[in-house]
């Protein structure tokens, strides 16, 4: 898979490469090696297609029963066999968006500090601890969310925003403050995706050539101007790549989100109100679903999550393409 993308990216020198491969491929050992590794590589896309097929086929009865309404209706009533996934789709997108809005500036800030400002003795330990965030199991994040984050939000952050800042009437922050909310889910996700974005951004910034920085400094730029005008534009497509990696994690995260989001299938303008995500819905209901339509509806939610993930990634890919075409990249 990597070979394929590298090959297409290095469009300038394909003939030399393939010629080299052909020469080496002539010995039987190399040929076996090549076919074996190719087989391994192909297993992944085949597996992906099979999973997609299985999920769509299993979800088909529900999609046929409810039609497009499955994606637009808000009612999820297993007792009476009515299923609409709109609140879960909404919740997945909103919680991931909150996560990225919070995590991106933080992660990029951390990466800039580590790659541009931090002394060598500080860089490694801090980078290690940031990366370590990615190693914490999500159920531990969830527990921390229930025991620490949610009470803190309910007793301090939410009253501060609603009463002290007088934003309680503003739709985004309206309604009673339980703590369990879309906001709590977004915050937990932000912490969880931060190491992904920050690690990728750090590596991309470190890969910016020295000449680029020196040229900017030689033109009389301050350190800040050098970073802002020379380093970041050079690295921006890489940074967006890191954000997309984080987004992938946020869209599919299940356990930690389920534990703090309140699990209420409702679309609310307020991020202080409970919500639901597609992954949580599946994880919550699958083990006890006995009715065929119910199981099928959950599979259809899985298919919807599949579609949303692919769509979001396509948009992201298009975004990167747009940036690469823009002058100065």
């Amino acid at each position: 898979m990597t070979d394929v993308s590298a090959g297409s990216a290095l469009a300038a020198t394909p003939s030399q490469e393939s010629a080299a491969v052909r020469i080496h491929g002539s010995s039987p050992g190399d040929r076996i090696y090549r076919w074996t590794t190719m087989g391994f590589a192909l297993i992944i896309p085949i597996l992906l297609c099979l999973i997609a097929w299985e999920v769509f086929a299993a979800g088909w009865p529900a999609l046929r029963t409810f039609g497009i309404g499955f994606f637009t209706q808000s009612e999820w009533d297993a007792v009476n066999g009515k299923f609409g996934a709109a609140p879960a789709i909404f919740g997945t997108l909103v919680s991931s968006a909150i996560a990225l809005i919070i995590a991106t500036p933080l992660a990029v800030g951390v990466a800039i500090f580590l790659s541009e400002f931090a002394p060598r003795w500080l860089r490694q330990p801090v980078a290690f601890f940031v990366d370590l965030l990615a190693a914490i199991p999500s159920v531990v994040y969830g527990l921390w969310g229930i025991l620490v984050l949610v009470p803190f939000l309910r007793d301090h952050v939410m009253p501060f925003i609603k009463d002290t800042m007088h934003l309680g009437e503003f739709p985004l922050f309206s309604g009673p403050a339980y703590g369990y909310s879309m906001f709590a889910a977004g915050l937990i996700l932000a912490i969880m995706v931060l190491p992904y974005i920050s690690a990728v951004t750090r590596e991309v910034l470190l890969a910016v050539p020295r000449s680029q920085r020196e040229a900017a400094l030689a033109l009389g730029a301050t350190r800040w101007e050098m970073i802002w005008d020379a380093v970041l534009p050079f690295a921006r497509s890489g940074i967006i790549g890191g954000i997309i990696l984080g987004l992938g994690r946020a869209l599919g995260e299940t356990m930690a989100v389920t534990m703090v989001i309140g699990n209420r299938p409702e679309i609310s303008a307020s991020i202080f109100q409970p919500g639901y995500t597609m992954a949580s819905l599946i994880a919550n209901e699958f083990s006890e679903a006995t009715n065929d339509l119910h199981v099928s509806a959950l599979m259809a939610v899985g298919a919807a999550l599949f579609i949303v993930t692919v769509l979001v990634n396509m948009i992201a890919r298009w975004l990167v393409w747009q940036i690469e075409r823009a002058p100065g990249a």
Partner: protein, 378 residues
């Protein structure tokens, strides 16, 4: 130039990786739903004890998570005593019913009785429901500073969970609790977010005491809740109640003590206010069992059961076995185990916060086991 190309390659790889990560998360989400579903494997125990030499597992079962603690103890003790090894996967009642229908396990386990349509789809013919223990569901709340436990009636609980009663000092709550000073706090309803037998029992009770509930949310393992927050698992609901002043929710009895929660006294069908406890639930089972017809299939609800001492929110949890067993050896092992569970096994119930079956019912069940046939015509 080359660095730029590298960056481009990195980005493309990352996009692919991002897709893969999110899909992997989705796939694993099914797994995390089963995170609690530890496999209670008595084979290990038997192997350690050097049990009978054949090495394999004798019986396999799958189903409810709610009775898993006592089943795990039973299978462990039974293996130590007889050498018969039983592998039980607590994957949830739904999964247990599905696997029984497909005949991939020797027995299933469920907190809710199988519906008629589920019975029809069982490939091995008629299914016998065998109650094993009684589960007790408590209504827990968080109101600091109350002098004594709050008293609630069935219709009042239904109206709280319907969102019709929203304040703790509502006149109807005050009427049931003369002499208690109730705070003017908002009521925060907490319910289970995932499908669960506990929800089934609780909604079965609310449907029995409130016509509005019966025709509204109804009874089931997952409901469309009119109000409230969803907590994951008993521990999630207990945690939310414990942390939120004004909260009320339903949890299994076993989760009350470790979380130090206050529980409501609930009015039973005889008008008495009763605290959730094992003996009161056994009394409820006794009251319901007395009325069973002789050829019952034991798919019976024991909520709001008659009797002065009964606690009204209780339910059997069942083992599901085919009436016609395909394999005579396995059938013998299975019935021997169930006989043991219905007699000696009942002593373990109270320590694990389950209520034992009334002895009259256990006798009836043992007699019914003789009706199992092995290798007979389907």
């Amino acid at each position: 130039m080359s660095t730029e190309l590298d960056a481009e390659v990195i980005v493309k790889r990352l996009i692919v990786l991002g897709t893969a990560v999110s899909i992997a998360c989705v796939v694993s989400s099914c797994g995390s739903g089963n995170e609690r579903s530890a496999t209670s494997d008595s084979a290990g125990a038997a192997a350690k004890l050097g049990g009978s030499g054949s090495g394999g597992v004798d019986l396999t079962g799958a189903g409810a998570t709610f009775p898993n603690p006592i089943y795990a103890k039973w299978f462990h003790d039974y293996a130590a005593k007889t050498g018969v090894r039983i592998n039980y996967q607590s994957i949830g009642s739904g999964g247990g019913i599905r696997q029984l229908q497909e005949q991939t396990v020797d027995f299933g386990a469920s907190d809710a009785p199988m519906s008629d349509s589920e019975m029809v789809r069982a490939k091995g013919g008629p299914v016998l429901h065998i109650p094993t223990v009684v589960g007790v569901v408590a209504v827990a709340y968080n109101l600091p500073g109350l002098a004594q436990p709050i008293k609630l009636t069935g219709p009042l609980i239904a109206d709280i969970f319907l969102g019709k009663v929203t304040k703790w000092n509502d006149t109807r709550i005050a009427a049931a609790n003369a002499g208690l000073t109730l705070p003017a706090k908002d009521i925060l309803v907490v319910h289970r977010s995932e499908g669960s037998g506990t929800t089934y029992v609780f909604s079965d009770y609310l449907s029995a005491v409130s016509p509005v509930w019966k025709n509204g949310p109804g009874k089931g393992k997952e409901l469309q809740w009119p109000v409230g927050l969803g907590g994951k698992g008993n521990e999630g609901v207990a945690g939310q109640i414990k942390q939120t002043p004004g909260a009320v929710g339903y949890i299994e009895l076993a989760y009350v003590k470790p979380n130090n929660l206050s529980v409501a006294l609930i009015q039973n069908s005889a008008g008495q206010f009763v605290a959730p406890a094992a003996d009161a639930a056994t009394a409820a089972a006794d009251g319901a069992a007395a009325k069973l017809p002789p050829n019952t299939d034991f798919r019976v609800s024991i909520v709001n059961s008659p009797g002065a001492q009964t606690y009204p929110i209780a339910s059997f949890t069942w083992l599901l076995v085919y009436r016609n067993q395909p394999d005579a050896t396995k059938a013998k092992k299975l019935t021997d185990f169930i006989r043991w569970a219905l007699s000696d096994g009942q002593k373990d119930a109270a320590a694990l916060d389950y209520a034992p079956l009334p002895s009259s019912l256990a006798t009836k069940l043992v007699a019914r086991l003789d009706s199992l046939s092995a290798g007979g015509p389907r």
